[in-house]
């Protein structure tokens, strides 16, 4: 088998069925299909610095991830997308806020952390740094299941099974060390390791960003096939707006630690409601030589999340900013019919912004 090809989707489904039959870990739906897989409220993480300064990395975000969907997360450096990923994974403790996983409180009595971490796994950007250089890839993939009580032999069998699923022939690759693999192959190992505990939620933090374009496409295909075969739910974080559009069902746009807009990918890309989303999408290279970008949508660099501006955090760069925006923080609130939520005064009926729609009249 070619090293970078992975099994055909149908084959993969059969393999997934087989591995469920010898399943070592419960993977059952508990809350029912309508319960979000992950429901986050008021999630906050501040990093204190010297002299009283505070990095407000994530500042009170609320969102849900539905079962079986892919939630894309976009934003520029310092917007808090990676901190959000680490909080979801509980690699960092939040300062405030809570998370419900399939209706159960993460870290609570029903779902202690160790149990939660079997169900949520993460793949990082740097494929080399996230593998132990002194362990063979087979041992790396088998490590998690052993921690969770599988015998060494069973864990190794499982690891080889998974390596085959991500397109790495175990006969050729199982005994290799990370430095003996290419970047794309290493990222496949990381994906296999993340799947080793039969998780339901996979957090992909810039997982394909370091790969070359042709290899990136292969790994995206693999992720699509795995999602189907294992009924996975993805949180897909990337700075590449094309990739997010291709992979996601819904997209969440972050700016300086806050969510500015969240909604279905197609309508959000077609008609962004928040001025920042609009600017971010307009900054994408056009791919059309006859319609090159003529004007940069925003000036200057994204500001530092240390001591962010008051009111709407985007107001210093926003072409529509008015007095209200400098003073009052806009709430994330529903807009339109497509389930979109936007945090912008322009979209709030009755707000004291000249572009805001009039207040809704309550007809008695």
């Amino acid at each position: 088998m070619h090293p970078a090809a992975h099994p055909h989707p149908d084959e993969l489904k059969a393999l997934a069925e087989k591995s469920r039959a010898v399943k070592l870990l419960p993977n059952a739906d508990r809350g029912g299909p309508a319960t979000p897989l992950l429901s986050v409220t008021g999630l906050t993480k501040h990093f204190p610095l010297a002299r009283g300064a505070v990095v407000r990395a994530v500042d009170g975000v609320d969102f849900t991830v539905k079962k079986g969907e892919t939630l894309g997360v976009v934003g520029e450096s310092g917007c808090g997308k990676s901190t959000t990923a680490r909080l979801i994974m509980q690699l960092l403790d939040q300062d405030a806020g809570e998370m419900l996983f399939d209706g159960e409180l993460v870290g609570g009595l029903e779902l202690p952390l160790k149990e939660y971490r079997r169900q949520a796994q993460m793949v990082f950007q740097d494929s080399y740094a996230s593998l132990n250089p002194r362990m063979t890839i087979e041992a790396s993939v088998a490590f998690g299941p052993q921690v969770h009580g599988l015998s060494k032999n069973n864990a190794i069998t499982r690891a080889r099974d998974l390596l085959a699923k991500v397109g790495l022939d175990p006969a050729r690759f199982a005994g290799r060390y990370p430095h003996e693999l290419s970047g794309g192959q290493r990222q496949r190992v990381n994906i296999a390791r993340a799947l080793a505990l039969s998780p339901r939620l996979l957090i992909l933090d810039e997982s394909v960003s370091a790969l070359d374009k042709s290899v990136e496409a292969q790994v995206l295909n693999l992720l699509l096939d795995l999602r189907e075969a294992f009924d996975l739910t993805y949180v897909f974080i990337s700075h590449d707006l094309n990739v997010v559009r291709f992979m996601s069902d819904r997209v969440m746009v972050m700016y300086l630690g806050e969510i500015v807009e969240i909604g279905p990918v197609e309508t959000l890309y077609a008609a962004p409601a928040h001025p920042y989303t609009r600017a971010l999408l307009a900054a994408m290279p056009s791919m059309d030589p006859d319609r090159r970008t003529e004007e940069a949508p925003l000036a200057g660099d994204p500001p530092n999340p240390i001591n962010p501006p008051p009111g709407c955090r985007f107001h210093p760069r926003c072409p529509f900013a008015e007095a209200l925006c400098c003073a009052v923080r806009p709430e994330l609130s529903p807009v339109g019919e497509d389930g979109r939520q936007v945090a912008c005064h322009i979209n709030t009926p009755g707000a004291r912004h000249s572009k805001a729609p009039p207040a809704l009249e309550i007809i008695p």
């Binding site: 520029e76 496409a217 291709f246 990918v265 971010l280 900054a283 290279p285 056009s286 791919m287 030589p289």
Partner: protein, 320 residues
């Protein structure tokens, strides 16, 4: 019109513990004031080609053959002072990471004025005035203050602007850009691309722009050369290349860039990985990954077929 850059059958080989044939027969030319994008994945030889033009590769371990001329000068024959005058005076380079390209212990003003004095002569005070002008040209706000700033005090986008100012200090005729926006955020990237496009016109420079991102190349380039395994596999105007890619690798790259991809459908990905280049290719290096490969592809190296209109393709199927 004589070309600004003329590269003829360039081969670059690195010797050491293992031999790497990084560039294997690149021929390309650039007209004055033209922007050529060199597009390829890591290891395709795009950065090596660029560095060869400034003779930045380690001399003792690098074997360079072929002909290389910039503005009528034979680059491979330059020595000592001539080479030093050439670097920055005729051709100048901007790098991916401006944080590494600046010396952290000198101010931005010191570093730019040093380059101005080196190439233009004059006094330190005069060079500082010129440095201030250059910062204005790259649209750095409050340039007076930035002259006294150290590189770490600037944001990523500002640092990249300052590096462009540094590269322009010697009024070069050729600007070499090695992935200058790869490390930047999306909203900053587009600012820098627009700035480069504008400065290239204002200073009437030729520009070689190396990138792995087709979208970025479309924004700044007139023509694009696609590199694979140390060879240029396809050259053409941006329009032709995007609308009608002829080489199977170009087609694969466009698909991988999600050009016209349908959401949720599997991508038409190129299988496999690029070759290791321990040996110079004797057959089409793309053949093992190519869906349309025929017998001849794994036997002989395809010729560079000229399809007219500046279009050249290195593929057995295109030359028919």
């Amino acid at each position: 019109m004589t070309p600004l850059v003329e590269i003829e059958n360039l081969h670059v080989t690195f010797r050491g513990e293992r031999t790497v044939h990084a560039v294997n027969g690149v021929s390309v030319s650039l007209a004055p004031g033209e922007v050529l994008g060199i597009l390829g994945e890591s290891g395709s030889g795009k950065s090596v080609t660029l560095k060869t033009l400034l003779r930045l590769l380690p001399e003792r371990r690098t074997v360079i053959t072929g002909a290389l001329s910039v503005d009528g000068q034979d680059v491979l024959a330059l020595e000592g002072l001539e080479l030093a005058n050439f670097r920055g005076g005729i051709a100048s380079m901007i790098f991916q990471d401006p944080g590494l390209a600046f010396d952290p212990v000198y101010t931005i003003g010191d570093q730019i004025s040093e380059a101005v004095m080196r190439h233009m002569g004059g006094t330190k005070a005069g060079a500082m005035i010129r440095a201030r002008e250059l910062l204005e040209r790259v649209r750095i706000p409050s340039p007076e203050r930035r002259l006294k700033a150290y590189p770490h005090e600037l944001s990523g986008g500002m640092r990249q602007r300052a590096m462009i100012a540094l590269a322009l200090a010697g009024k070069p005729k050729l600007l070499l850009a090695d992935e200058p926006t790869t490390a930047l955020d999306a909203t900053v990237q587009i600012q820098i691309l627009l700035l480069l496009r504008q400065l290239q016109r204002e200073f009437d420079m030729g520009m070689l722009f190396v990138t792995h991102d087709i979208g970025v190349a479309v924004e700044v380039c007139d023509r694009i050369a696609i590199m694979y395994a140390g060879q240029i596999v396809e050259t053409g105007t941006v329009r032709d290349l995007i609308r009608d890619p002829r080489h199977p690798y170009t087609r694969g790259l466009l698909a991988a860039n999600l050009h016209g991809a349908v959401k949720g459908m599997r991508l038409d990905a190129i299988p496999g990985a690029p070759p290791a280049l321990n040996e110079a290719p004797t057959a089409c290096p793309f053949a093992p990954r190519c869906a349309s490969a025929i017998e001849v592809c794994s036997k002989t190296l395809p010729e560079n077929a000229d399809l007219g209109g500046g279009r050249r393709v290195r593929c057995h199927l295109a030359s028919g």
